[in-house]
Structures are given as structure tokens and as C-alpha cells.
């Protein structure tokens, strides 16, 4: 699965707000006039937009990092409902606006129930459509980041979102972007987080069934944390539930000679091969 971290620096996006483009919108439609008008308006508003004449796969949509998707169900055809369900299910953070020709109440109800945010009937005024898109996106963004860029210290751990840097008792931790985001999320949440929740908030979309990425990153985090304070376990596992960050570290009983754990003071990733 393509998961790029295109803009790897400061104002990272995944879990926090996007940098410049006001909005990133894709439109799936086949009416050139409609597309053109919409594109003009979106462009004028400073939104990044992309026109698609056929439905993109879920993976593609994920890769595009959209805020909103406008779709004419007529373009998709008979499997429209499936498509809608898949997209809404997999990208709960995406605003989906169905903009289609005349429809029955039952159809509109069905679409909304499957997760669409709004249903517009063509022909519609572009300005109104834009407002609807913005209204839908507004909701997503409101709770997107309660308080970012505020350095926080939780127990021995200090997190500096502005620098993408974490510290354990003054000592700096060398974390990758994703590791940092997970640590930040865990440290700032004073409760048990389910894997699905961690995934969704860090990756930005729903976790696929059976995905173990979170576990692996937790392991990497634990490993690096252990390299600095070998006797403490900051991340508790709640079997059958998820993980929780423990501000007051639980003391581990390390048998004789911290053997098995700390690979080396250096960072093991470099030595693996």
C-alpha cells in the first residue's frame, strides 16, 4: 500500500492540519461543463482540485489525501452503493458529497445512511455545492486537532510537536515521523486507546482488518524508550483492547543483566543488515 510521507517536515499533516491548500477536493463526474465551472470556483478559492472521469479505488483516494470527494453516482453505475459504502467505511475522515441527477427519497436516504455527508441534486448551483462541501469539511476539521504544537510533558516524557521531537528525562529520542505521532497520541491521551483508534488518528483513515502496523510501531517505540530507561515500561498493553501510555512508569523486573533488551546504545535500525 502506498503510504508516502510526501511533506515530511514540520507542519506534517497526517494527524494534524494540512499546510497550505485550503481544501483538497476530487470530483468524479463526466459533465465537462460542470467540471469546468467547479474547477474554476475551487481554483479561485485556493482549493486543490482534481477531476476524475471514473471512480478511483479506495487506495488511490487514500493516497490523494483528500478532504472531500464529490461524486456523481451515474458515473459509477450499478455498484454505486457498494462503492459508497467502501469509501465511507474506509475513509471516515473524508467528506463525501453525492451530486447526481434526479433521485428518489429512498435513494437519498440510502446514500446518507451509507455514510455520505450530503446529497445534491443536479442541476445545482456551483456556489451552493461549494458551500455544501465546505460545510461538510468544516465538521471534520473542527475536532481534528484539539491542541497542537503545544509542547507537553507527561511524566518523564516531553513531546514537542513543533520540532517533531520527543525527550525522555531531558534526553532526546530519535523517532521517525510515524513513531513520533503515535507516541504523541498515546502520551496526550490519558486512557486506553484501541488499535483502530490509534490507526485512524495517526494514519488518517480506517484500519484494515488484521493490520498489525500499530503493534510493530509500538514495539519500535518500546525498544527506543527502553534504550534510554531500561527499567521502565511506558506503554501498557491491555489485552483484547489496546494500549495506554502510563505517565508513572511501571517498573519492570529485569532479570539478570539487561541482556535481552537493549541491543546497543546506538540505534539498532542501522545495524540490522
Amino acid at each position: 500500500m502506498s503510504r508516502e510521507r510526501t511533506d515530511a517536515q514540520p507542519g506534517n499533516q497526517t494527524s494534524s492540519q494540512r499546510a497550505q491548500p485550503r481544501l483538497r477536493v476530487a470530483v468524479v463526474d463526466r459533465d465537462p461543463g460542470f467540471m469546468q465551472v467547479l474547477a474554476n470556483r475551487l481554483g479561485a478559492l485556493g482549493c486543490e482540485h482534481r477531476a476524475l472521469s471514473s471512480p478511483a479505488t479506495v487506495e488511490t483516494l487514500v493516497a490523494m489525501r483528500l478532504n472531500a470527494l464529490v461524486v456523481d453516482l451515474a458515473v459509477i453505475g450499478p455498484e454505486s452503493w457498494d462503492y459508497l459504502e467502501r469509501v465511507c467505511g474506509r475513509l471516515p475522515g473524508l467528506a463525501v458529497i453525492v451530486c447526481t441527477g434526479p433521485s428518489s427519497v429512498a435513494q437519498r436516504v440510502r446514500g446518507l445512511r451509507l455514510g455520505a455527508d450530503a446529497w445534491m441534486t443536479k442541476p445545482c448551483h456551483p456556489e451552493e455545492l461549494i458551500c455544501v462541501i465546505e460545510a461538510a469539511v468544516r465538521r471534520h476539521r473542527r475536532h481534528e486537532l484539539p491542541q497542537v504544537d503545544v509542547a507537553a510533558t507527561i511524566g518523564e516524557i516531553t513531546v514537542r510537536p513543533d520540532l517533531y521531537q520527543a525527550y525522555v528525562a531531558e534526553q532526546s529520542l530519535e523517532l521517525t515521523a510515524r513513531e513520533f505521532e503515535i507516541l504523541q497520541l498515546l502520551a496526550q491521551s490519558d486512557r486506553v486507546l484501541r488499535r483502530e483508534e490509534i490507526y485512524e488518528r495517526v494514519w488518517g483513515y480506517a484500519m484494515a482488518h488484521g493490520d498489525r502496523s500499530v503493534d510493530v510501531f509500538v514495539r519500535k517505540l518500546r525498544q527506543k524508550l527502553r534504550a534510554i530507561s531500561p527499567a521502565w515500561n511506558y506503554i501498557h498493553t491491555h489485552f483484547g483492547v489496546g494500549y495506554r501510555f502510563a505517565p508513572e512508569p511501571e517498573v519492570l523486573e529485569l532479570d539478570e543483566a539487561g541482556s535481552a533488551d537493549v541491543p546497543a546504545p546506538e540505534f539498532p535500525a542501522a545495524l540490522t543488515r
Copy 2:
């Protein structure tokens, strides 16, 4: 009977989504028929609803702790726009749906720009309106989770859903995920729960006939509770019915002494079946 829990799936939200009315909605309108139909549907869905024939002040709305507000601008009159702006500005967490008679594109655009989440034109199908309300609220709720589950203390028992942890008189109980969920359910319900009900709410699907899992988990719970306070029995068995959590623990007769007489025949046998 083979019971697969294959679909233990996307995290057991069982515990997180119970309690509370599904939605709290207020409707500002003057059409009695419309209000009645809407009230019926909302009631059937388990939503708390309230009808208002004149606009409530912002303060009142705050006090009502609403999830959504449906408003007919005609009821408010000329200062509709001001009102909309005030409400949306002051309660960013409230979903506002304008449901009004015929309007111009300019009006709809203005309403949405001021912060409304959706604009429905009367006459509209109640079912569709409900779907629109739900779609709007869905967005707010997505990241609302952190505060949803609050700690509760029932008698000597304290339940902390955020930590997946329970306490008996300050002392922590080591429970597995399932055990915790059952204890939470019992402790938060002030009544007798049938086995089928417990099973369905914890496991997420119907109990197979003859399944004894609930009994076994109750046993484990009792065992762990007894380990901390040996003289008390928190979980009462109602023969032929189910279980009930007793906030004021029943004192057990240890050894012989005042044997046979168990106090509290509070519930008269509750029909044998």
C-alpha cells in the same frame, strides 16, 4: 455449539456506545403535523427530542446540551440570519439544519456560509431529514470519544471505562476485557439483566441457545471480587431470570451461624419463566 467470534472485529464498541440517548434534538417549527411526524420518528429511534414554537436563546440551547437543532427560518422572522450566526458561532459543536420553505440559491448559500450544516427545503420527507441530521451529527461525534465514557462509582465499586479498570474500595481489580465489560454493564444497570441481554450487549450478537459463557464470566467476576472483599456478594442471581448488581452489598453468612435465611427477598420470584 460452535460459536465463532471471528467478527470480534473493529474493536468491541459494545461498551463505548451504550448509555445516553442516541441523540438530543430540538426542532423549532410551527407546523404541528410536521412536528408530530418528526417527533414520532425521533422517538422511535431512541432520540430525545423537544419541540419549540419560537426560537430559543443561545443560553437555553447551551443548557439543553443538544446534538442537533432543526430550524425553520420562517418562525424566526427577519433576524434569521443574525440568529443563525449567533447560534452557529456560539455552539460550534451543534449540528444546525435549516428546514424551510422554498428559498433562493443566495439564501441557501448565505445560511451555509453562516455555519449551518445542511439546508432542507420543505416539504421534505421526514426520513430524509432524519438522515441528514444523523449525517451532520456523525461528524461531530467522530472525535468526541474521549469524554463519552465517564468514570462511575456504584457503591463500593468504581468503573473507569477510559482505563478499562475497575476498583473495589480504592483497590484495583485485575479484569480481562470481557470481564470488565460485563461488570461495567451490570454496575451501570440498576436492574436485573437477563443472560441473553448481557450476552447481546457485551458480545454484540445474539446468544446461542444453551450457552453458559455468561455464567462462567460471572463466576470469574465473583471470584475476583471475593478476593478483595470476601464477605460481600455484589452480583445477585435471580433464579430463572438473570443477574443483578447490588450497589449495597448483601452480607453473606460465612460458615454455619445464621445459615439459611438470606435477606432481601426484594423481588418476588419474578415469574418462574
